[in-house]
Symmetry: C2
Subunit: 213 residues, 2 copies
DNA sequence: TCAAAAGTGTTAATAGTACACCCATGA
DNA sequence: TCATGGGTGTACTATTAACACTTTTGA
């Protein structure tokens, strides 16, 4: 037996900040909250931790419910534990972000939940503390992308250097010099040219790259 | 009313990694776990979140119970949510670290709880996932001290540059060149000389500094 | 022929690293 | 007088930032 009986228990939710990259901008998947309190307000994708699953597994389950995706790059952001953060009942939320390829998920699932992509720089007011969560997650990916090739999770298999640069610019919220960017990327040795040429986005055509291994 | 009734609730604990700096080494305050499961095992300082307090407030309360200290520099580390992490019952733990001055807390309180300082590089095996927690927290302060003057929380009011350097070395786990260290610190402009001389730690005497404002 | 995106090097500034000797003092 | 920790500067290397023009091609 344990000595825990005298302590209170709490609902524990998981909120997922699902990032995607489309039309040159970093996007977040949001939907309308389907239940009270705050029904109809804009909300991150979330759910409650189940008794038999770890919090990490809960985040993976919720992501799969909304996207059909498994084995996605996810990281914990933080726990949010203010007493009144949910105006209905006390809920402690543990937040994760996920990076997905917007061309490669089950959009029927997200449609069922009325989810939509919104530009991270033009987020509407979300319910509760969800805007804070997005801001923090965005800072985290900004730090991470400086040292790890997490862009591979957001881009199509083949991509041009210009697209890759626009991803970095969108995540970091800065503009980057093209020559400096290309040099720093080539030094990092994450990507390799495929020999294929993309003719869609320019007349001249641009070399298509892919992430290594 | 809320729609949450069908979801399970969980015990939520807070574990505090209380860092101090003594005898040239970064230390952590640990004690023997006072209840089952794992009674008598070495453990971080922890407790359960109460119904009417935020998780942050819970961390502050626990810190105060063990040290008497208020208004301490604390940061959330992460939430730990594996199903079996506590072998007794399901407990989700939210971890914080705190930085305190070892000369300036109520050691009677820590004595009551049989707490003791151990070198972070010589930690015994702690219960559950507590060693993982310490490792992660230590990485965090290593990152933070590179850009923020958090040393002010760990050092006495007046300190020599040698002591400050030994703090950085202990946190980062590296040795630092004395001249390079002094240059980088003076560029950062965190500290100022007091004009006082410390005669304790050297024959010649060393200038005592303090953190600005 | 021109608009639009692709591609390509050099220089300057900054930050970080390596390295060795003299000083002041109390025991 | 000597052992101990205090204090100081310079050269090299690596990283980052600034900056502009030519190429290709489809419309």
């Amino acid at each position: 037996m344990t000595a825990y009986k005298s302590y209170p228990k709490f609902y524990v939710s998981v909120d997922c900040i699902i990032f995607g990259f489309a039309k040159g901008h970093l996007k977040v998947l949001i939907h309308q909250r389907p239940y009270e309190p705050g029904m109809g307000e804009q909300s991150l994708i979330g759910g409650f931790v189940q008794a038999d699953e770890s919090v990490d597994a809960s985040a993976r389950r919720i992501l799969k419910e909304f996207t059909g995706l498994d084995r996605v790059y996810m990281q914990q952001v933080a726990a949010y534990g203010e007493v009144e953060r949910d105006p209905g009942e006390r809920v402690i939320s543990i937040v994760y972000y996920a990076l997905i390829n917007v061309d490669n998920y089950d959009s029927q699932l997200s449609d069922i939940h009325n989810a939509r992509w919104v530009d991270v720089d033009q987020l509407p007011t979300l319910c509760f503390d969800h805007n804070d969560m997005v801001q923090k997650a965005r800072q985290m990916i900004g730090e991470t992308i400086k040292s790890e090739p997490i862009g591979s999770n957001l881009l199509p298999k083949y991509f041009t250097l210009s697209l890759l640069q626009s991803l970095y610019e969108s995540i970091l919220g800065t503009s980057i010099d093209k020559r400096n960017f290309r040099r720093s990327i080539s030094e990092k040795d994450y990507i390799k040219p495929t020999g294929m040429i993309d003719k869609e986005s320019s007349r001249r055509g641009a070399t298509l790259y892919q992430f290594k291994n």
